[in-house]
C-alpha cells in the first residue's frame, strides 16, 4: 500500500506551514489530561496522548455558541430584528483526532444533516474542518470500538489517517480535503510500506479485548425493552450529572437560551443533557421524564435502540470508553448494552423448544 512518510522534521515543518492557511487544533497536555485546543503559532500538538478526557466534538459543536444577536434599543434601526451572529468559518484542521471520535462526527451528522433539516452552525463548522486522525496502537481497557462498527484504524470521517512510525508518522490520505492539506503541508513523500500499515491495523484491532454484543438490539421490541425489569437496578447509582453526555462524542442535544444585557441581546445554544431533571420539562410544568429511572433509560434507549431503529447505522456509540472511565458512580454502558441485547433471550430459547 502507498503511504506518505512524515519524519519528525517534516512533521514540524508541515505544521508550521499549515498555520498560515488553517486554524490548527490539536491535543494539548493539561494538568491531569489532554484536551483539544487551538494551537498557537509554533506550538506542536502533543501526539503522545492516549485519549483526551473530553471528546473533540466541541470543534464543530461548541458547548456555548451564539446564533443570533439583536438590539432592543428603539433608536436603533435594527431594533427587534434577529441578525445572524458573526462567526468564523475559516478553514481549520484537527490534528490527532482518534478514529472513534471521527466516526462519532459521522453519527452526529446523521442528525444534523437530514433531508428535512440542516443545522447550519454544525454543518458549516464541519465543512470548514479537515480531520487528521491518529490511529490507536495502544487502546485502553475501556475501549470497545471494534464492537460498535469502528476500530483503532477506522477511516470513516477522516481526511487523513496517521499512524505512528518511530519518531514520525505514516499517513494514508483518504479524501480530497486530505489531499489538499497534504499538499499544503508538504507531506508528499510517498512510498510503498510493504503492508506495515495493514499489519499495524490488525495488531491494534486484536489489542481491543473489551467487547459488547449489539446484534439483537434491532429486532427487540421497543416497548418490551422500555418496560424491562433491569432499569431500576441500572439507574439506582446514577446521580444525574451530565458527565457521560458532556464527555460523549455522539451526544448532540442542545438548549436554546436568550440572554439580554442592557439593550443588547443574543440567542445562543448550549449543550444540554438528558440526565438533567429539567431536560424535557414542559411549559405546563409536567415532566415526562420526572425520575432518574426515566432519564437513565432515555439515555441508553436513545443510544442503543431508538437510534438503531431510526437510522439503521448501528448504535449511537463509538466505544471510546470515556463515560465508562469518568462516570462518578461507575455506570458502565457495556454492561447496560449487554443487558439490553440479551433481554428476554432466556424466554426466547424456552419458546423455541
Amino acid at each position: 500500500m502507498k503511504v506518505i512518510n512524515i519524519d519528525q522534521k517534516k512533521w514540524t515543518k508541515g505544521i508550521d506551514t499549515l498555520g498560515s492557511s488553517y486554524k490548527l487544533i490539536g491535543p494539548v497536555a493539561e494538568k491531569d489530561f489532554h484536551t483539544f485546543e487551538i494551537l498557537q503559532q509554533g506550538q506542536l500538538p502533543d501526539m503522545s496522548f492516549t485519549n483526551t478526557r473530553l471528546s473533540p466534538k466541541e470543534v464543530v459543536f461548541p458547548q456555548s455558541e451564539d446564533m443570533f444577536v439583536y438590539s432592543l434599543d428603539q433608536n436603533d434601526e435594527d431594533c427587534n430584528i434577529l441578525k445572524e451572529a458573526p462567526k468564523d468559518y475559516s478553514p481549520r484542521v484537527v490534528l490527532g483526532i482518534r478514529p472513534c471520535d471521527a466516526r462519532a462526527m459521522r453519527l452526529v451528522k446523521l442528525n444534523f444533516d437530514t433531508e428535512q433539516y440542516k443545522d447550519p452552525y454544525w454543518l458549516r463548522l464541519y465543512e470548514a474542518t479537515t480531520f487528521v486522525g491518529l490511529a490507536c496502537d495502544q487502546p485502553c481497557a475501556t475501549c470497545f470500538c471494534t464492537s460498535t462498527g469502528c476500530g483503532p484504524y477506522h477511516e470513516e470521517g477522516l481526511d487523513i489517517l496517521l499512524a505512528k512510525d518511530g519518531d514520525g508518522f505514516k499517513a494514508k490520505v483518504l479524501t480530497d480535503k486530505g489531499r489538499q492539506l497534504a499538499e499544503a503541508s508538504g507531506w508528499t513523500d510517498t512510498a510503498d510500506d510493504g503492508g506495515a500499515f495493514e499489519n499495524a491495523r490488525r495488531a491494534a484491532e486484536a489489542g481491543i479485548t473489551s467487547k459488547v454484543a449489539t446484534d439483537r438490539l434491532r429486532q427487540m421490541d421497543t416497548l418490551e425493552l422500555y418496560g424491562a425489569d433491569f432499569w431500576e437496578d441500572v439507574s439506582f447509582a446514577c446521580i444525574n450529572c451530565g458527565t457521560c453526555t458532556y464527555l460523549c462524542p455522539t451526544c448532540w442535544c442542545f438548549d436554546i437560551q436568550d440572554e439580554v444585557h442592557g439593550k443588547k441581546g443574543k440567542r445562543m445554544r448550549n449543550w444540554d443533557s438528558c440526565m438533567f431533571p429539567i431536560f424535557t420539562v414542559h411549559t405546563t410544568g409536567h415532566n415526562p421524564r420526572g425520575t432518574k429511572l426515566h432519564r437513565v433509560r432515555q439515555r441508553f434507549m436513545h443510544k442503543l435502540k431508538y437510534f438503531v431503529d431510526k437510522y439503521d447505522q448501528g448504535i449511537m456509540c463509538v466505544g471510546c470508553g470515556r463515560c465508562v472511565q469518568q462516570c462518578p458512580v461507575n455506570i458502565d454502558i457495556r454492561r447496560v448494552c449487554d443487558l439490553m441485547n440479551s433481554y428476554g433471550s432466556e424466554n426466547a430459547c424456552a419458546a423455541q423448544g
Binding site: Q63, S64, E65, D66, E259, H261, K266
Partner: protein
C-alpha cells in the same frame, strides 16, 4: 472570591435607629466610591465561543 472587602458591608439597623442608618450609608458610600466602579462579576454580555 476576590471581591474587595470594602465593597460588601453587613449591618443590623433597627427602624428606630435613623442616625445609625445615615452614618452607615455615608460610610459605605465613601468606601465604595474610593474603590471605584466594580469591574468583576459584572456581565455586560455572555462570552461564548
Amino acid at each position: 472570591m476576590g471581591v474587595e472587602p470594602d465593597r460588601l458591608h453587613f449591618s443590623w439597623i433597627s427602624s428606630a435607629e435613623s442616625t445609625k442608618f445615615v452614618e452607615v450609608v455615608t460610610e459605605i458610600t465613601e468606601k465604595v466610591k474610593a474603590l471605584g466602579p466594580n469591574t468583576h462579576y459584572v456581565k455586560k454580555e455572555a462570552k461564548v465561543a
